[in-house]
Symmetry: C2
Amino acid sequence: MDQLIEDRVTMALSLDNTTRAELWGRVVDVIENYTTDISKLRIGPDLDPAKVRADLVPVNFDRPMEPAKALEFTLDILMRHQTHVVHPRYFGLYDPAPSAMGVIAETLVAAFNPQLSVWIQSPGAVEIEQLLVRLFGEKFGYDKSKVDGTFTSGGAEANHTALLTALTHAFPNFVSKGLRALSSQPVLYVSSEGHHSVLKAAQSCGLGTEAVREIEIDRDLRMDVKVLSARIANDKAEGLQPFLIVGTAGTTNAGVVDPLGELGDIAAREALWFHVDSAWGGAVVLVSELRHLLSGIEHADSITFDPHKLLSVPRSAGLYLTRHPNILAKTFDVAAAYMPGMNSSEQVVDQFRHSLQWSRRFIGLKLFMTLAVAGWDGYAEVIRQQLSVGEYLRSELERSGWKVLNDSALGVLCFVDRTHDDGALSTYLEAIREDVVSSGEAWISITRLGKSTPALRACIVNYLTRPDDVSALVASLNKARDNHMLHGHRGMNTKE
Amino acid sequence: MDQLIEDRVTMALSLDNTTRAELWGRVVDVIENYTTDISKLRIGPDLDPAKVRADLVPVNFDRPMEPAKALEFTLDILMRHQTHVVHPRYFGLYDPAPSAMGVIAETLVAAFNPQLSVWIQSPGAVEIEQLLVRLFGEKFGYDKSKVDGTFTSGGAEANHTALLTALTHAFPNFVSKGLRALSSQPVLYVSSEGHHSVLKAAQSCGLGTEAVREIEIDRDLRMDVKVLSARIANDKAEGLQPFLIVGTAGTTNAGVVDPLGELGDIAAREALWFHVDSAWGGAVVLVSELRHLLSGIEHADSITFDPHKLLSVPRSAGLYLTRHPNILAKTFDVAAAYMPGMNSSEQVVDQFRHSLQWSRRFIGLKLFMTLAVAGWDGYAEVIRQQLSVGEYLRSELERSGWKVLNDSALGVLCFVDRTHDDGALSTYLEAIREDVVSSGEAWISITRLGKSTPALRACIVNYLTRPDDVSALVASLNKARDNHMLHGHRGMNTKE
């Protein structure tokens, strides 16, 4: 073989040691500067697709770039065309600042490139994940000897897994015969404020989105259990097969926790699988005085929890947990001659038979390394503080004449202008949001509560967000309101 | 708020700058040493679950570790309890050595933590991925103006996406009404040597594994098109609804490519969706003189391709590509009030409406940065060389009295001992594999071709694998064979 070609091949992907050292020096500097100087950056980028695309025009893979230039090019795109969700004044969806150990863990995972499909490829990685599954299951109140679970690409995959395990539990032939072999249509129940990944999962399971009964909410935005009971009875009377109730512990809109105890009771009475989507809110089980907020979750048959939310590990890390030790194996059991196995009587878990994925990244390491350094107590303090900053935001909003519409301990506030809370003026609120976001100084979103009431939404998503940041957000909101009051935007839109 | 608590909270997750600098110094050293000294490591670890678990017993999250200690603890587990798939003498499943730019990209993704669910959160990231989707679609022969696609967690998710898009295409009500609203059971076709993630996808879509017709293979291990045609006719006669043919371009067992042109013709004639799973083999479209191996793939309705295989980016990176520009939007369209949107007439893609995932990592950056440095030509050379090393392995095996059972250009060899190729003696081959792997000097797997014929399997998965490594593997195989011939292991197992 030609030595020159071999060298070129190595260089194309591996580079040489001098280049690697230079690149890593720059990368470590960039990460350090991003960490220390993040609060000086504009949060929201210029949102013009044409400009982003124009910046990518020079990319031509027929003409390779020098590694250092490729790095700078990428950094330029990332710095200019990215909503800096890591910023402490980003009050948006759940995109936390990543823990330092989490970033390091992801780097190690990339370099070692472990394969988690079968145990024998990555025994250390699989056992670390299984340890975390057991410990988190226990924190949620499961019997340690029974808990099983798997890391997922996020809450959507975990919720999808929940639907599949619930189907397999209710209909043992589901795996081989599918939905059409059943005597009637299975249906499931979730609050109308639940996460729409449940709808997507229903569609992806072949149930169809109409199989999802979106149950009306009560005045506190929680699933209305009376409506739920009536709907179940009605569906049964119509010959449908209820099989699953999904409770939400922390709605995306408003951080509302469904009445988990009552939902669990109904599920038990009706012999339905009870899943709790606590992708966001689940973290409070680590805080002793807040644990009661999720009371009843320990009776859930399965749980979704995303460490990449309140536990601040880099995206993505979801967890599906269950107290049924054999259900994942039943749901995903496949055999393949080419997959390496163990000649051992020891019980080990091959992940490709245990989850929706096949080859899989070592998702759990960033949680393991962050938790090893923070400890349970460190995490409890992080969560406690974030929620207390949320309480401060509530008081500051109310002090400035904003009306908070939701009641949540999870640090999310949905609010409107108190003097104009009558007209549901979404364009007025949108104009305020636009002002705040385009200032580059803070970032909030807008939503509709109960699918109808428009509200501004600000959420404490970052462990580095401090009272100063909250004050800056409220000042920015006040300024935007004054601006639109003065210029009569509200009046312009009263026809709405 | 208590300053002391704030500081503790920051420290628990962010650490201080001195600690971060020390940790990164160590991480960069470790990665450099792992890269340069990998060939000195034992490849396969001691496979004793009890030992791995014993090493994790000291983990106690009630007692946090110092960051440096947590790092060393993790490194120790990773070094000792990991099959070092990055090793050039790892001839196993498709777990490549990761490109240097790929590892750097993953580090940046972790630090910036971009959120790809909606365009406005990460315009740069989304546009980089869309650019790659268009360019790779074009490489596979799609019309650039029509190609669409999405990055996935791997080939399993891409195949799952293929089933869902095929169902949505065939049955427009599938999304809302599900499978039970159809007039009869949909069925699909894949070779019996195809990847079993198709079975898992069928189960996860609610079709059931029995909806998958595993079509017999011909002598060359390719899907038998006559059997396929007969089976389709038979299924139709029985009132079932064929909707999808999955061709495989590079079977996991033996690197075999199905007759894509003929499969495409049958699909067109029968009006079925034609998907090609080229998770592994797809990379040859980047090599002009090998492009013909995948002739016909340009007529596929959709394609699975895993950049984390032959393109050597860190796990995981899958691609689903399609020439139907609206099918992903139809398949995954969901609306959610809490998701931020664009007030713009510009066409942008919100990924949460475009794939199985919701919140998603920036999967494409590692491919973008690696490709930027290697260029199309660099990748072509990498692939060409790996396949030529595979040819060298074939000649070396044959020269040493091994009989190669498969015919593949993709650098995978399935082989038996030529003097004992009669008895299908899997325990004899397993003993040889065990010797090779337990030596720590090389790593191969064992499989069954056509679900019956046992064979040792060695695959060139690493761009750093050189003829020397191949010679070492063959020497190790020869030694193991001699050993078992001498000690009569073969005789012991003739009862099989």
